[in-house]
């Protein structure tokens, strides 16, 4: 038995027929071919599957696709608007904030939501803010640096725009 849902993904309207038990992450990965969002665990521990649902970071392995009906979902594929890297993407690249890259999309989405909530977070706030996302490669230090850089850049850009 399938349910009809309508969601907006990275600004594009999508109509899907999904089994009620289908996790959102598989709808994104296997029905919409958005494979940037990854699955790393069975227990909502690792955060590799983090996407933004109506602006809030959500572990999409633990949300059913049917629960996202009517919502706006943002994935890593939607970050680089108009082909221009998002300041977070740029900062992760410049600060070696990734190694194998598997946690990176989830980490970027969590960081985006963090900066939306708190545009100039302290190091402690950043570390707390990304503590739902596990990384096995980097030891987080360069991820923290990257988020600090992106925060500074976004604040400067916002100030210039004022």
């Amino acid at each position: 038995m399938s349910h009809h849902i309508e969601i907006t993904v990275n600004g594009t309207h999508q109509a899907l027929d999904v089994e009620p038990r289908l996790p959102l992450v598989f709808a994104l990965r296997e029905m919409l071919d958005l494979t940037g969002t990854h699955v790393g665990c069975d227990t909502t521990s690792c955060g590799a599957c983090t996407v933004l649902v109506d602006g809030t970071p959500v572990k999409s392995c633990t949300m059913f696709a049917v629960q996202a009906d009517g919502c706006s979902v943002e994935t890593v594929e939607g970050l680089a608007a108009g082909g221009e890297l998002h300041p977070l993407q740029k900062a992760f690249w410049e600060n070696h904030g990734l190694q194998c890259g598997f946690c990176t999309p989830g980490m970027l989405m969590t960081a985006k939501a963090l900066l939306a909530r708190n545009p100039r977070p302290s190091e402690v706030e950043i570390r707390r803010g990304i503590s739902g996302n596990l990384c096995r490669c980097t030891g987080y230090q360069n991820i923290v640096k990257a988020i600090q850089q992106a925060a500074a850049e976004q604040s400067t850009a916002a100030a210039a725009g004022d």
Binding site: G40, P105, C137
Partner: protein
């Protein structure tokens, strides 16, 4: 034609990584991102018992699940002779169980279905009847007379797998007997697991029409997989293509060939469709290669003044149900006899007894060059135990015993020849940077106030870069590695390697090596790895071997290209070849350096205007057999504070001063250090896979097997000294594993140092809050 001039030397620059643009945009291509037309999904049925007779498997309920197409059991594989497979360690391992199961989560049956969900539903529906057998969990009881015999398939009716020794036992016993001071300590390195964020998985695609098998798989060693598959499945090797796409972390757990891969191949042959199998996290932690599980007993004999003389180590190794560790064939305990470390021992002896237990197989896979982590932890811990016995500062004890710089190359009593080292310089740099003397003064003051502050040092030596072919092979395959470089007419290059990175940055660092050898910008060198159809043969990425072995191949392959290009340069410069010199990234006429041509000029000429008699084109292949290992080293210092009420340890500072020889990309080296230190921190403080008395795995997901978050992870301070390897083509030594190898002892030494006023000499990892609290309670610091 106008060609961009070569940039400044590219070796040693912190170039941004070439692989990152795809990863930060969600455009990586990991195994589970691949979907083939008509692809089916496989799920495995696993044993809930650690030791049980298999009575009956009923497939029917699974076959009744909508979407389920096939159920495969061990008996089905037995018909094909595929129910057992050889391991890389010379043992054999069940693919799907027949007769009995030997560990919880062992593979029992496979369900193939049209969808992922149907495969899971089908696996849940298979009915398996077991008859429980007595379980052997504790390796220390494996050789007891009444212990259950686990591997009744073997000729040898014992749970002992092998006994291995190294060194001179008589000389060591004599030196130990004569020593003025001896210390002895039991040290356990717990069973842990690398658990990269991407679990293991594969897609087996057997094309019935062509008879060709393509296996997409999360592999650190794709060529080894191809050869093993050819041997196991009896397929002609040219009819197998192994593709290891982007790998989401490996740390050694993706070196061995797992039963699921073999079953997926069979499933693809049986169904005529591509079959995907991806582990869950629980399957990953419960069945793929664990690490460590070494019960060690160490003795050091020394003079009263603290000069070490003899080292003796007895070890009991828990290998689980099959000896399937991915080790060099002639080295069952890996490179464990590196355990004399950075110190000048006159005599040493090591033995290891490996036993079977009802636990998953594995042994070496957690960012460790074959048991080097156990060895390094052991000697660094033992040196602190000796310092405590002698009432000496552990820094002074180390200073007294370092192998002096003038004695390199230095041969240890256990047979290794260290290539280069300057331990005192590295050590003093670290102690100076952290302010060691001030920290000791602060500690004295705090102790007077009853506070628990500790300083821990590890001054380790590693052995990496397996390995020289005379002694090192896997299943007979010599442990060389390879590079193939093609320089295109426009002066851009494609470089392919037999290794397979999983985040180490080869696409950047190998481009830097090739670029610097050829006078090309790293941006102009495209690096490819992971496809056995295109890459030259190699043994893969693990044991910090990529830079020491494949990095050597990269440099020498590029030099082979340069040799040919020199002939072309002479032709273009209209002079004799002996008049051409390679200087500052160009071929120049000796004595007239302004007359020069670039590598790009030569490349274009190689295809458009080759010298008469010279074969056109500009490409080369190089198989590099390293003459020796490389021996990176370093000094790590941890400073901790322990809450005397809760036992919680706070890592206040951690400094790593590494020496990995010549650095290719300092940004990437620092990143490797950060990551490895975080793993070492996890091992020291929170990671273990324990089993209960029935053999139930008690850490089978990330809520039980802990990975540190950004909150717990300390801030890492890093620095370096540089002692080039004299035999490596560019002087590099490899670095990936040093931080995991060297750091657990620094953490534990710091915690034990903090507890030493209570008379504590040793506490086994993981140093959880509870474990420390119990120590505090035993010593009356906290009341019960």
């Amino acid at each position: 034609m106008a060609i961009e001039a070569p940039s400044a030397p590219v070796l040693g620059q912190a170039l941004k990584r070439k692989e990152d643009p795809r990863f930060i945009q969600g455009q990586g291509r990991y195994l589970d991102d691949i979907r083939l037309t008509g692809m089916l999904y496989m799920s495995l049925v696993r044993s809930p018992y650690a030791h049980a007779r298999l009575v009956k498997i009923d497939k029917q309920p699974a076959l009744a699940v909508p979407g389920v197409l096939a159920v495969i059991t061990g008996e089905d594989l037995a018909g094909l002779g595929l129910h057992w497979m050889p391991t890389l360690a010379g043992d054999k391992q069940m693919v799907l169980a027949t007769g009995k199961v030997l560990f919880q989560y062992q593979e029992v049956a496979a369900v193939v279905a049209e969808s992922r969900a149907a495969a899971y539903d089908g696996a849940a529906a298979v009915e398996v009847e077991y008859d429980a057998l007595p379980v052997l969990v504790d390796a220390k009881h494996a050789l007891d007379p009444g212990a259950p015999l686990l591997r009744d398939d073997r000729e040898q009716k014992t749970n002992q797998i092998w006994h291995w020794e190294s060194g001179d036992s008589m000389a060591t016993a004599a030196a130990m007997a004569k020593a003025e001071v001896t210390v002895k300590q039991d040290v356990y390195f717990p069973r842990c697991h690398a658990s990269p964020l991407e679990t293991c998985g594969c897609i087996a695609d057997m094309n019935k029409a062509t008879g060709r098998l393509t296996l997409y798989v999360t592999s650190q060693a794709p060529h080894v997989y191809r050869t093993v598959l050819a041997m196991v499945a009896k397929l002609p090797e040219q009819m197998i293509r192994v593709v290891s796409p982007d790998v989401g972390g490996g740390f050694g757990v993706k070196v061995g060939v797992y039963p699921g891969y073999v079953v997926a191949v069979v499933a693809s042959i049986v169904t005529g469709h591509p079959v995907k199998w991806v582990e869950t996290r629980t399957e990953h932690l419960g069945s793929t290669a664990f690490a460590r599980d070494y019960h060690m007993n160490v003795e050091i004999g020394a003079t009263k003044q603290g000069r070490v003389q003899a080292l003796r180590v007895h070890t009991l190794a828990d290998h689980g149900a099959f000896d399937s560790q991915a080790n060099p064939s002639k080295w069952p305990a890996g490179l464990f006899n590196i355990c004399t470390g950075s110190y000048d021992f006159a005599a040493a002896f090591v033995d290891v007894d490996a036993v079977y237990t009802n636990k998953p197989p594995g042994g070496v896979s957690y960012r460790c060059s074959f048991r080097v982590t156990e060895a390094s932890y052991l000697i660094e811990r033992a040196m602190d135990v000796l310092a405590a016995e002698l009432k000496m500062d552990p820094a002074d004890l180390r200073r007294k015993n370092f192998i002096p710089p003038e004695r390199f190359p230095y041969t240890t009593p256990l047979g290794w020849t260290y290539d280069s080292g300057n331990y005192p310089a590295n050590f003093e740099k670290a102690l100076g940077l952290i302010g060691y003397d001030d920290l000791r003064r602060e500690q004295t003051e705090r102790r007077a106030r009853g506070e628990l502050m500790g300083i821990g040092i590890s001054s380790f030596t590693e052995i990496v870069g397996a390995g020289p072919s005379a002694q090192f092979d896997i299943l007979g395959l010599k442990m060389f590695d390879s590079a193939e470089i093609r320089v295109h007419p426009t002066g851009k290059a494609l470089a392919r390697f037999g290794v397979r990175h999983q985040g180490q940055g080869h696409e950047t660092t190998f481009a830097q090596i090739v670029g610097s050898e050829l006078g090309l910008p790293a941006a102009d060198v495209l690096v490819e790895e992971g496809d056995t159809d295109t890459a030259p043969y190699g043994l893969g990425t693990y044991g910090s071997r990529s830079t020491p072995v494949a990095g050597g191949a990269a440099a020498l392959c590029a030099r082979r290209i340069r040799e040919k290009a020199k002939k072309i340069a002479a032709h273009l410069l209209e002079c004799g070849e002996h008049d051409v010199e390679w200087a500052d990234g160009k071929f120049r006429v000796a004595g007239a350096p302004e007359r020069a041509v670039t590598m790009q000029d030569c490349a274009f000429a190689a295809y458009t205007n080759p010298p008469p008699g010279l074969e056109p084109g500009l490409e080369a292949t190089y198989y590099y057999d390293p003459p020796n290992f490389t021996f990176p080293f370093g000094t790590y210092v941890a400073v901790v504070d322990i809450d005397p009420g809760t036992g919680e340890v706070k890592v206040r500072r951690f400094l790593a001063v590494d020496d990995c020889g010549v650095v290719i990309n300092p940004m990437i080296v620092d990143g490797q250090i950060h990551g490895g230190l975080t793993e070492g921190f996890a091992i020291a403080f929170m990671q273990e896979i324990p089993y209960d008395s029935e053999g139930n795995c008690l850490a089978s997901n990330f809520t039980e097997y802990l990975v540190p978050t950004a909150v717990e992870t300390p801030h890492w301070e890093t620095d370096r000294t540089t002692t080039p390897s004299p035999h490596h083509p560019i002087g590099a030594k490899g670095v990936g594993e040093s931080p995991n190898v060297g750091s657990p002892s620094a953490f534990v030494n710091a915690v034990v140092d903090a507890l030493s006023p209570l008379g504590v000499r040793h506490v086994d990892m993981p140093l959880t809050r509870e474990r420390i609290w119990r120590v505090l309670r035993e010593h009356g610091v906290v009341s019960a």
